[in-house]
Each structure stands twice: as structure tokens, then as C-alpha cells.
Assembly symmetry: C2
């Protein structure tokens, strides 16, 4: 396929930003960019179920490429779901209108013991296959991102059995059976490490860990439960040159702990002032942290002018330095494609200007 707007090396731009090296501008992509706001996605999903798309590399590749073909963002994330490893560990999953449901919930020590340690090269082969095919389709200058749920967030679904306000059963386990939760988190981390290794081996330029529900925890509980599992996971990955982006929502109270997770980049939402965060992490860790974020997805309900202002406000927090521009959560399904385009274009503007400048100089 012709890579749209492929006049520059997006992979290098993305990886440099993740490593904190200087770049002409911040690279930009959107969480859930392969999704319902795109008519071509809705058309494909009318013919295939969610899990069918996840598990059929040709379909996963097609929907992963749709946003890139339409909007030419700077990274392509493989289409999948954070619950894929939960199913591979032995918990059946149903995707209904009310979101995912896991009828076989984890509630006791024996439930954890029964979990299956899966081989991602074989049992979730469809995912590395999709990543390989994406890399081939996109060529060497577009980064392909893999991902997984972070252990705490995956545990929330495995224990509560669905997305539930405050995840009361997972919290009950934390308070009433802390050792069972620790063992569950250990098993998830162990399996997720291999799952992400397979994604790197297939060609992923970076992986993102989604810790969507980290914000439910106090800092003490995060440090005692979520963080050790993250550390176990990243130690098994040894990221080195391969960035691990750690996304957590509504977690401004946890980010100094998250900086000890072993991740390369912290991905934050609109509740975080990235200038303040960078300053406090510099004081705590002695280095300037690469950050990803943080425009409120609801800002894309505004006019093109106000979307541009939201992008500029986010970039102003970091000076565009060591910054992967993104939304603070997934793009909403009813956002007009034109508004998504305005977001991406506003993010890429500095480079366009720079490219014009380079052309004028040439």
C-alpha cells in the first residue's frame, strides 16, 4: 500500500520522542484510533464480530490501517483487545452491547491456580501475525504499536467479570484476600510479559500497557499491589531500545510511583498538567521523563478552532519535547472524522511548517 504522507520517517520520530531525544515536533496518534468514529470501521464490523476481527489477522490488519489511510497519524496500533490474554488464560469472554463479560470470575485461590499459562506464539498467534503483516504493509518508516492490559486492570475484569463502577469485587479481594490478588497479579504479569515479547518479536516498535483502572487505587494500595506486578512484567521485558508506554487514567496521585514501574514513557490524561508532572518527576528521579497525552477526548466535540487550541495547550505543557501527542483516553465513537483530522493535523502542523521551510531552503 502507498503510505500516505510518507515523506518522512515516522518510526524514527516516534522512537526518538519515546527516548526523550530532540525532534522537530511531537509525533501524534490516538488511543482507539481504529474504531467506531470511522465509517469504514463500522462497515467492516457490520459483517464481523469484535472477537472475529481480533482473531483474523487480515481483518485486524485492515481495521488497523483504516485510520492511517484516512488521517496519516504517526503510529499504527494493532487492533486487538486487552482481554485477549484473559481468554488465553482460560476465561471465556462474551462481547455484548453492555461491554465485555467474563462469566467465569476469579474469586478464590483455586480459581487463580486453574489459570492457564499460554504460549503467545501459538495460542494467540493471530496477534503477532497481524503485527508482522502490518509491518510489511507499512514499510520501515511507520511504527507499529503492540499493547496489553496492565496486570491490575486485567485483574479488575477477571475478578469483577465486567467493567463495573469501582470494581467492588476486586477491591473486596484486595482487602479480604490480599494474597490471592497478589498471586493473580503475578500470574497475569508472567503471561503478559511473554505476550508482549511475542509482539516485539513480530516487529512492534513499542508497546503500550493500558492501566485504565489504576486510578481506583490509593497510592498505598497501588504501591502494594499494582506496582510490583508492573515491575515484574517490565523486568521480564527488559525494554532497552523498545519503548514501553504506560497509560493510566485519572491517576495524577500515582504517577511518581508509576515512574518506578520500569516503563519508558508515562501516558497521562487531561487531569495531569504535564509541565508540573515533568518537574516533579525530574525532582524525584533526576531525569526528564518522556510523556504521552493528554487532550480530553471530549475536546473533539468542539470546533476546529477549539480543537487546535486544545492541541496547542497540550504541546505548550511540554514544549513539544519528549512528547507523544495523544488523547487522554480513547477517541469517542460519535466524534466526526473531520474533528479527528483536525486533531491530527494540528499536532503535525509544526512539521508541516518545518517541511515547507526545508522545501523553501532547498
Amino acid at each position: 500500500m502507498p503510505a500516505p504522507g510518507s515523506q518522512f520517517d515516522r518510526k524514527s520520530l516516534f522512537q526518538r520522542a519515546c527516548r526523550g531525544e530532540s525532534t522537530d515536533r511531537a509525533p501524534v496518534w490516538m488511543m482507539r484510533q481504529a474504531g467506531r468514529y470511522l465509517p469504514e470501521y463500522r462497515a467492516l464490523r457490520a459483517k464481523h464480530s469484535f472477537l472475529e476481527v481480533c482473531k483474523t489477522p487480515a481483518l485486524a490488519v485492515e481495521v488497523s490501517l483504516q485510520p492511517f489511510q484516512a488521517l496519516a497519524m504517526d503510529a499504527v496500533i494493532v487492533f486487538s483487545d486487552i482481554l485477549v490474554p484473559a481468554e488465553a488464560m482460560g476465561l471465556p469472554i462474551h462481547f455484548g452491547d453492555g461491554g465485555p463479560e467474563l462469566p467465569e470470575k476469579i474469586r478464590r485461590r483455586e480459581d487463580v491456580a486453574r489459570l492457564h499459562d499460554f504460549d503467545p506464539e501459538r495460542e494467540t498467534r493471530f496477534l503477532p501475525d497481524a503485527i508482522q503483516q502490518l509491518c510489511r504493509a507499512l514499510g520501515p518508516e511507520v511504527p507499529v504499536l503492540g499493547f496489553a492490559g496492565a496486570p491490575w486492570t486485567l485483574a479488575c475484569y477477571m475478578v469483577d467479570g465486567a467493567g463495573r463502577d469501582g470494581f467492588p469485587e476486586t477491591k473486596r479481594m484486595l482487602h479480604a484476600q490480599p494474597e490471592v490478588l497478589r498471586e493473580l497479579l503475578r500470574r497475569i504479569a508472567q503471561n503478559t510479559a511473554r505476550y508482549l515479547q511475542a509482539q516485539f518479536a513480530a516487529g512492534a516498535s513499542a508497546v503500550q500497557l493500558f492501566d485504565t483502572w489504576a486510578g481506583e487505587l490509593s497510592r498505598d494500595d497501588y504501591d502494594a499491589f499494582a506496582l510490583p506486578a508492573l515491575q515484574q512484567l517490565t523486568a521480564a521485558l527488559r525494554p532497552g531500545d523498545s519503548p514501553v508506554i504506560y497509560y493510566s487514567k485519572a491517576s495524577s496521585h500515582l504517577l511518581e510511583s508509576a515512574a518506578r514501574s520500569g516503563a519508558t514513557v508515562l501516558s497521562v490524561d487531561w487531569r495531569v498538567d504535564m509541565a508540573e508532572l515533568r518537574a516533579s518527576l525530574l525532582a524525584a528521579t533526576g531525569r526528564e521523563w518522556p510523556l504521552q497525552g493528554n487532550v480530553d477526548p471530549h475536546a473533539l466535540y468542539g470546533s476546529e478552532l477549539s480543537i487546535r487550541a486544545a492541541v496547542q495547550a497540550a504541546l505548550a505543557q511540554t514544549g513539544g519535547r519528549a512528547h507523544v501527542l495523544n488523547l487522554g483516553h480513547g477517541i469517542l465513537p460519535d466524534v466526526p472524522v473531520e474533528s479527528a483530522r483536525a486533531f491530527i493535523h494540528a499536532g503535525q502542523q509544526r512539521l508541516e511548517n518545518a517541511a515547507v521551510g526545508a522545501a523553501e531552503r532547498a
Copy 2:
């Protein structure tokens, strides 16, 4: 009625803590303490609908007193709902199994213009009546608390029409019709001020503003929308000696702004370290702030020993000084009454010891 354990002046204890004066121990109560975890509440609700209880002073008084009779906490909050003023402003409300629904949503300037400015002394008379009857029943030594939703949180329900993840329509209004949202917030603040004045006039010792959904906002958006409406409201109240407790959930990123709201006490959840908050507010405002909170309601799923540890951890954050001990959100409906009792007793322990000490000295 005989006030259980009425050997000391709970009202004085509560008001001193709210004013930041020294006390023998922190007073303790629980958000949603009149609720489904109590069998006597469930028995009454089996015979009367939620709104019927809210609007019938004798019933509201009965359920407000139930937790005090069972657990002898240090304050009694009147039973009501934050949506009562929304209904009084002209929006019908249905309480179904999926939570409250407001079918006539606010979406345009004309919807705001149609809202009714209500007279709380007449149109929601049942609430000051219930507060008066509670004060009579409890006598001068037990504080009765009134409450209302904060303007932003009430606007979320009035625009989205129900509790919805992220309140997308309210956010859409913020980004696409900011002046309409500002006008809505102004109208809510104006009506809420009178509504709370009527509660103070009826005998409330303090009122709590519930800003449950403040945490959905970035600090910039909070400062631009939620905060001015709060300031308008508290300016109209002129609290003086009557404490205004401002509760916000998942809002650690907003609390320095909340300190400019005009409230007397900031009520926070388990995501906030109250020692750090107090230090940062001291630096920002030059004074030691009275705080309320902040035990995770899920901690009441643990053993009596772990509940006691959670209470002690919360009290350790403030040294019990200028601190109203509470949960960080409402008590959960499936918490055993014994666990609620363990929470209250652990909070009151220091006084019991002090009282024993005083008796020995006498």
C-alpha cells in the same frame, strides 16, 4: 428519643473540627450512612419509594435516625437526594433500577431559560421540615447536616440525563456551547444557595456540597466552569460560623483550586494523602485546612482488624487534627453492619479512652 451514647456534645466536637480548633479526637460519620447496608432501611424502603421517603418528613427523619440509633456516629445527615433541586427547577426525575433518569435534558440555551427558580421554603418544604424535626428529636448536642449537589455535578445530571461514564453530553456542551453551560451553572448556583440557606435556617449545623463528578474536569476546565459557580454559591451563603463541607471525588488534581471555592472544609477520597494535601494547601493559602475523609469504602469489606488499620492510617495523615473522619465515598450497600460499626468505633476510640481516663481521674 434517647440519644445513644450522648455523654458528650457531638455538635461542639463536629463544629470545632470543621473550624480547625483542637478536639480530643476526630468526629466521625459516613456518607450514605442512611442506606441499604442497614436492614431497617431496607425494610422501610420495601414499603415506600425513594422519592416518597425524601418528600415525607416523617419518613426522611426515620431513615436519617436509623444509623445514629444503630451506630452512634457523631453527625446525622438528613435523608434526601442531590437531584431534588433539579426536580424543583422543573426537570422530572425517575428513580429506576439503573439509577436516576431525567428525561427532559438540558441541551440548548432555551432549555436553561425555561428552568424555574424555586422557593425552597415552600416548594421543597419537606426538607427544612425534616431538618427541623431531626433537630428536635436529637436535641442540642447532635449536629444535623444538610446537603446539596455542587453546580457542576448537578449540571452533569441535568445535561446527560443520568449518571453516564464521563458525562459526554455535558462535556460536549462545555466544548461546543460554553456560554450555555456557564448560564446553567449560574442558575443552579443561584437556586442551590437559597436551598442551602433554607437548610441552615431549619437548624442544620453544617452543609455538604457533593461534587462527585468534579474529577472529570481538567484543572483549567474546573477553574473556568465549576469553580466560579461554587464561588457564586458560597458567596451567597456567607458561611461564617456555619461550615460548608466541599466533597469531591477523584480530584487530587483540583484541590488547590477547590481551596478557593469559599468552602470551610475539603472532603477528599482515598486517592489523596491528607498530610501532603494539608502541606500543599498551607503553602498555597497560608493556613491549615480542615479536612474530611478519606477511607476507601471497600476497606469495609476487610476484617475488623484491617478496618481499624484503615481508620488509623487515615487519622495518621492528619494527626486527628481539624479532621472529620469519613469514608472517601458512600458506604457500599453490601457492607455488613458490624463492619460499619467497626469503622465508627475505631474512629471514636481515642475519645472512649480519654473518657475512661477522665473517669479514672475523677
